[in-house]
């Protein structure tokens, strides 16, 4: 039976207290399911779980739902056509409407501005420890019988000379700032790196008025052609790709495959880039360099699953064909931690359609109900495509050929290539953790999220190397937490440990 929490204020105010149901069943401190992340996977999961009768709370660090993929302008910006920055926008509005209906009926609650920094096993399930708001002003603990992790991904970055210059931004960051704030980092923006996000970003940027002189992609796109059967199973993906390609053609954007930005130029901000051809292992070919003037560069090398909350509980992982560490899940999307499910990018990056399908399937699994066979088949086809895509865009080892000794690898702690090579070659460091202890690379604000893949590669522990590849990164705190909140001890609802 629902009981009153000992301290209702630590739940945050209910979103709609005045018009909600008289007996608000969500004021039970123990939910059936906490979904962490309100992007495609989390939204689909929360809505489906509520459909199936689970009392569900949906948590997200952002103020609204949508995550990074469905990021959209704040209401104050008065955007009448947010769909023009999105593929299949109606999928989002449909889910948002269903969530709102569940919230009104007291079957589900969305808690925005709730950044979960740790998950803890408890006697009756899980405690999600939360720091609230962009300034981390206070904290909360949300308890649930089970947890569904839908924390998505962040971008993989590989350093190059000049990548710390203002005006060099991540491809996803350019997308995010455009979708939410309706702003561009410059007028003439080169898009570079590898992966399908580049085409989506370039397509958004040109449609929003930027000039994109080139999309510079490190692979040759040939990887996709090796498995025509997999491609045939996902016609929607081909339509989406054709849509981006069409936008780029219309705006005269040149696609440069098997090439990379090997240097960004400028003093206080980027004024141009040097692009070089790459061999099949991503080694820059001397003599192929050419300069492109620009006032911004949007760069990224695919996405990395954001799985810290699960790996800290000991969840098993797998290394995908793209070299990224993802959670290992069974056919019902269970992780190896009892009561912990995972859906979407956390299981290996595969895009929004796959995340939607997995969110729905995971909710059925948590509820102990049988999902629709069609959703299972769709998930299976999209997962196969994700593996193909991951293999096609896996970074080649030759990328280190564009580094220089003074290129900063760790942006936070300003650790150059030379310091990392010294730690590896002279001091015997063979893994990112030892490099970190010797050089501070990965020890700063971002906790190695930006430099991690590069440091692992330079330390010789990247996937495919002799040491067998990396384990998951270890981050006991999923985000920076003020010491005052840690020192305050357990929140009132947390069980005494």
């Amino acid at each position: 039976m629902p009981t009153s929490p000992s301290d209702p204020s630590s739940f945050g105010p209910p979103a709609d207290a005045s018009s909600g149901p008289l007996a608000d069943p969500l004021f039970d401190p123990l939910f059936d399911l906490a979904v962490i992340g309100a992007g495609p996977a989390g939204l689909a999961a929360a809505v489906t779980a509520a459909d199936l009768g689970l009392r569900c709370v949906l948590l997200d660090g952002g103020q609204g739902t949508g995550g990074q993929y469905y990021r959209h302008p704040a209401p104050g910006l008065g955007a009448a056509r947010p769909d023009r920055l999105h593929h299949h926008w109606s999928a989002y509005t449909g889910l948002a409407d269903r969530l709102a209906a569940h919230e009104r009926a007291g079957r589900a609650a969305f808690r925005g501005g709730h950044q979960v920094w740790a998950l803890e096993r408890t006697g009756d399930g899980f405690a999600a420890h939360v720091t609230r708001g962009p300034e981390s002003t206070d904290r909360a603990t949300v308890r649930s019988r089970s947890v569904l992790l839908a924390t998505g991904a962040y971008e993989r970055q590989l350093p190059f000379p000049g990548w710390t210059l203002p005006g060099v931004v991540t491809a996803g960051g350019a997308q995010a700032m455009l979708k939410a704030g309706l702003v561009l980092p410059g007028r003439r923006i080169v898009v570079a790196g590898s992966g399908p996000l580049l085409l989506a970003a370039a397509s958004s940027l040109v449609t929003a008025g930027a000039e994109v002189p080139a999309v510079v992609e490190a692979t040759a796109y040939l990887g996709y052609a090796r498995r025509p059967g997999v491609l045939a199973g996902v016609p929607g993906k081909l339509v989406e790709g054709a849509g981006h390609g069409g936008a780029l053609l219309r705006h005269g954007v040149r696609l440069r495959p098997r090439s990379a930005v090997v240097e960004a130029h400028g003093t206080d901000r980027v004024t141009g880039v040097t692009v070089a051809r790459l061999d099949a292992r991503w080694r820059p070919l001397p003599g192929t360099e050419r300069r492109i003037d620009c006032d911004a560069l949007a760069v990224g090398h695919g996405l990395l699953p954001q799985i810290d909350l699960a790996t800290e509980l000991g969840a098993r992982t797998r290394t995908g064909p793209d070299g990224a560490v993802a959670l290992a899940v069974d056919a019902r999307l269970r992780t190896s931690v009892p009561g912990l499910w995972s859906a979407g990018e956390t299981n290996g990056v595969g895009g929004a359609d796959l995340a939607l399908a997995e969110g729905e399937l995971a909710a059925y699994a948590v509820a102990g109900a049988l999902p629709e066979a069609g959703t299972l088949r769709r998930r299976s086809r999209l997962r196969a495509f994700a593996e193909l895509m991951a293999a096609a865009h896996r970074p080649g080892p030759g990328w280190t050929g564009w580094l220089r000794p003074d290129t900063d690898v760790c942006r936070c702690e300003e650790v150059p290539v030379a310091a990392i090579r010294e730690a590896v070659d002279d001091l015997g460091a063979g893994d990112p953790r030892t490099v970190k202890l010797l050089t501070r690379a990965g020890m700063g604000w971002c906790q190695g999220r930006m430099c991690g893949p590069a440091v692992a590669c330079l330390a010789g522990s990247a996937p495919g190397s002799a040491s067998g590849g990396p384990g998951p990164d270890r981050r006991p705190l999923g985000c920076p937490v003020p010491l005052s909140q840690l020192a305050a001890g357990p929140s009132p609802e947390s069980p005494a440990s």
């Binding site: 990074q68 910006l77 931004v169 960051g173 008025g209 901000r269």
Partner: protein, 105 residues
């Protein structure tokens, strides 16, 4: 033909612009924009200098992961401007190094 813009693309009719203060000068902001977005819209790309090299930095990841976009906001250092809304009268100061020079002895 009118130049294409992000606001034009989504047919935005924002509420009236207000101002934040950046290093002592007013910068316009639209309701709902973050501090970083308002600064980009004004052509500003850097609002921090690094601790070691004193190099300029601004928004990089745009989603709160990289912490490159830190600035001093209303007197408090190390605030992620890509997440913080630009409120009327918000004061943003370029952050030098760790932003805690006041604690130096």
């Amino acid at each position: 033909m009118r130049r294409r813009t992000p606001a034009g693309l989504v047919e935005a009719e924002p509420g009236p612009a207000h101002h934040i203060e950046f290093d002592g000068r007013p910068v316009p902001a639209l309701p709902g924009q973050t501090i970083a977005a308002a600064l980009w819209a004004d052509g500003v790309l850097a609002w921090r200098t690094t601790r070691v090299g004193g190099k300029p930095r601004g928004a990089f990841c745009g989603i709160g992961s990289c912490f490159d976009c830190l600035a001093t906001v209303d007197g408090r250092p190390n605030q992620r401007t890509c997440l913080l809304p630009a409120e009327p009268g918000t004061t943003v100061t370029t952050q030098e190094g760790h932003g805690r020079a006041d604690l130096a002895v």
